[in-house]
Subunit: 505 residues, 2 copies
């Protein structure tokens, strides 16, 4: 358990083991049942344990009870009940987070929102749709099939869209389509005391900027085409942006109005191998600086490429690798492909063969999405922990090369994979959590990496969030006044610290 | 004064006339002088009156004193001083606002920040620059000459960039480059008590998404190229977005790190006349839906076209008019022009001649930027008031046509001009402020228009802000819980309500 203690700094206070007994008084559990019906409340150990952790290695901290509300009114009633009794509340979507966001470190009631799963108010004209928290990104895209629209934010996991809003998720398509932030237009929030807030106002569901926006993707230096991803609005503080990325600490996201995008006319994906990490990253920077409107540009170091190739049976060369995807009209795609090929060649890259059919591209991205499991397979019996720094693109080559050297010097297994188009990369550290010495080396490495990113003007977390594990680095990133300001806002909206306590701050 | 009373609802409480005497104790004024030096403090009536209003018709409300700090340290000391003595503070940039944002309705000290005007940390690689509040958009673009980069947000007036951040400004280029919101990366804020906050953390100056981004602008349906205007960051609540658009009510913006854009390789602008308002607006919607990455698409109704044509001596046809500008590579520009011409023709438009030389385009946009004065010239001796609604693009044609009819039915002079690509348009109401009956008709019209926009899922203010005049509509837009949430945040960050009191909330 040494490593868990080391990585999950701060979970110690009020930390609960998986074997803890529920501590809610029976009358309170009855009151919960009165709202949602007895079948929608559970205090069973297995259920509580299942809801006490996400996919990270932060120690399981089960809630005292799990409830499954089925309407926003029920969420409001349950919240009001918890608020009156000062019981902590933890929102739960799909449990696919990576920073312990759902772990009930102070117990309380877990609100599993997966049964609220309606999709409403699809406006093809305004490119918007409204989803409840049980709707995952794959479910939404299935629903959109045939409309010509899609929702591109793709963190890999089939996460719930409200959960993705809560953590400010992004993933492989963010370089072109943005993270959750510019793609959330309005949020219906249940505040800790049960009141209902619409962050952009009730009924203000539609995006009021423009239709499809954007342009075709014939990349030319000197052009910055923006599809104006923002609603234009100057009416009071931007509450939507405040709740995106708030990690469940300010309220329950019970509905999100999202911005949709037109499906590209044509898509092509490819794999390129490079003589070294530096060349692959330099190629990325040049592709961006040439303004190729790349949709995905993902980096694997040679360890990760080897692991992914073997895990998926695709047999990649053991080399620093880029996976690229281009979207556009047929004409613009050809132009993008020519430019990309030229830049890849200039950086000593090889192996470009374009996959244009959905099945072939699907195999390529499935391989990428399985990177986590491919990494774990390098050391069976060990566990994984993912870092998440993001740095300015001009600093990316140096930071990646230094980090690679640090990994080697530290004697750690940490294949690198990254959304390098955003300056964001992960080291998936695979190690023996029962070995305190190795755990300590992992901890020291993650701290050095976080500080290296901060020193480069970057952030300790590009997309996973702060959760339990990055609170110390958050202080270094924002400074004391920054953290104090976050705390003031938290105290104003959640005066009794009942919403997902112990996270972020 | 009837109209001023009507339009400036709520300024009555604590409202100060232009003749009010300063009410600060002499020792307090001496303390201000001790910080900035006596020449940088004034209690002269003329100076106070000059700082007691913006370009709107909200009644002048002079501060008790004006100070000119010259460093962030001085702003901190002055703020701490005012905080200890519970004296209201009002930030002042260029005074070019349109909703009474600088009017000192509760007196206090006006901080004129125009003498803090350094431009620093220009990073051509990361496309970012840092400016102090005295730097205007034109000054920045002069500074950038020769670098190949520019800052595109253009509200017309040569406003200070920090002021533009404070109001969430936008203007003619927003349809392509976004409003201030996605173009501000970090803010250095002096909090009401004098503490210093960096909204994205100290030293985190660079944008960490990508280089130029975007694509060339060869428009094709089915493509959404995003230049990823956002930093990718999941580290705590988004404080930058909270302060953008906070209208000076949460703190002083003493430095802004801005996102720059590459200058387009080629630019072409044109004027097209249409058989009616509906046709011009329908053309706009179709241009957007065809994903032409238009940089500017501005609408003038026939009254405004006539007024602008006469005021500028350009002699426009008396017809509903669109002014369009396209940016791109030479190739993509030609493609955009072909598409635009076709859509204009389909909507019965005529008169397309493309201006590609800077001088010619300059004349065209000077005509547009003088619309306010052209409108005032319609009724010499009268005053103007600009509405600012913004609606979803799908609702724009109906809302514009209904509003046009309402103007006629109300017997008002209110030429229409709008950033229709964003769904945002203004009626510049020109009327006799001394005529209570006409003032009442203006007030009733503005309320109906605001509610029409809200009913269409829009906002009462797209870019001017709430300021003094739209507080009642803000409640209708956000609902009570929304407004209560804004108030909680305000109270948390400014517990004594000293920062620009009486605005927004």
């Amino acid at each position: 358990m040494a490593l868990r203690r080391v990585l999950a700094l701060g979970t110690a206070l009020g930390r609960r083991s998986c074997c803890s007994k529920p501590s809610l008084p029976p009358d309170f559990v009855e009151a919960l049942s009165a709202v949602v019906g007895a079948p929608n409340v559970s205090t069973a150990t297995a259920v509580r344990e299942q809801h006490g952790h996400d996919e990270s290695m932060h120690p399981c901290a089960p809630p005292d009870a799990v409830v499954w509300p089925q309407s926003v009114g029920q969420v409001q009633e349950l919240a009001a009940l918890c608020y009156r009794r000062r019981v902590p509340m933890v929102p739960f979507g799909t449990g696919t987070g990576l920073e312990g966001g759902v772990n009930a470190v102070q117990g309380g009631v877990c609100f599993d929102l997966s049964r609220m799963d309606s999709i409403a108010e699809l406006s093809l004209e305004d490119f918007s749709v409204t989803v409840e928290p049980g709707v995952t990104r794959k479910a939404l895209n299935s629903h959109l099939r045939g409309t010509g629209l899609w929702f591109p934010v793709d963190p890999g996991a089939d996460a719930s869209l409200c959960g993705m809003a809560a953590t400010g998720a992004s993933g492989t398509n963010a370089v072109r389509y943005g993270t959750m932030r510019p793609n959330v237009l309005n949020l219906r929030v249940v505040l800790p005391d049960g009141r209902l807030l619409h962050t952009a106002g009730p009924g203000r569901q539609a995006r009021w900027v423009l239709g499809p926006g954007g342009c075709a993707g014939l990349a030319t230096p000197g052009c910055t085409c923006s599809p104006a991803p923002h609603r234009k609005r100057a009416a009071g503080y931007d509450l939507t942006s405040l709740f995106v990325g708030s990690e469940g600490t300010l309220g329950f996201l019970t509905q999100a109005t999202l911005r949709l995008h037109p499906l590209p006319e044509a898509t092509a994906a490819t794999i390129a191998s490079f003589p070294g990490v530096g060349a692959a990253v330099a190629c990325t920077v040049q592709v961006l600086q040439a303004a190729v409107p790349v949709a995905r540009i993902e980096f694997l170091d040679e360890v990760m490429a080897d692991a992914c190739g073997r895990y998926s049976g695709m047999g990649l060369p053991v080399a620093a690798t880029l996976l690229l995807e281009l979207h556009g009209s047929r004409n613009s795609l050809a132009e993008q492909q020519r430019q990309t090929e030229e830049i890849v060649r200039l950086n000593g890259g090889s192996g470009l063969a374009w996959a244009e059919e959905p099945e072939e591209r699907g195999r390529l991205w499935a391989m990428r999405h399985n990177a986590w499991y491919a990494a774990l397979a390098l050391r069976p019996g060990c566990q994984g922990y993912s870092t998440d720094v993001c740095v300015p693109i001009s600093r990316l080559p140096d930071v990646v090369v230094e980090t690679k050297q640090d990994l080697q010097d530290s004697g750690l297994t940490g294949p690198m994979v990254g959304h390098v188009g955003d300056g964001n990369f992960h080291c998936i550290l695979v190690f023996n959590t029962q070995d305190p010495e190795e755990a300590q080396r992992v901890h020291a490495f993650t701290q050095r990496l976080g500080r290296r990113a901060l020193a480069a003007g970057g952030t300790c977390t590009g997309e996973h969030g702060v959760g339990l594990g990055k609170r110390a680095l958050l202080l270094e990133e924002l400074g004391q006044e920054g953290l104090d300001t976050l705390r003031s806002i938290k105290a104003a909206l959640d005066p009794h610290n009942l919403m997902n306590p112990g996270k972020v701050l």
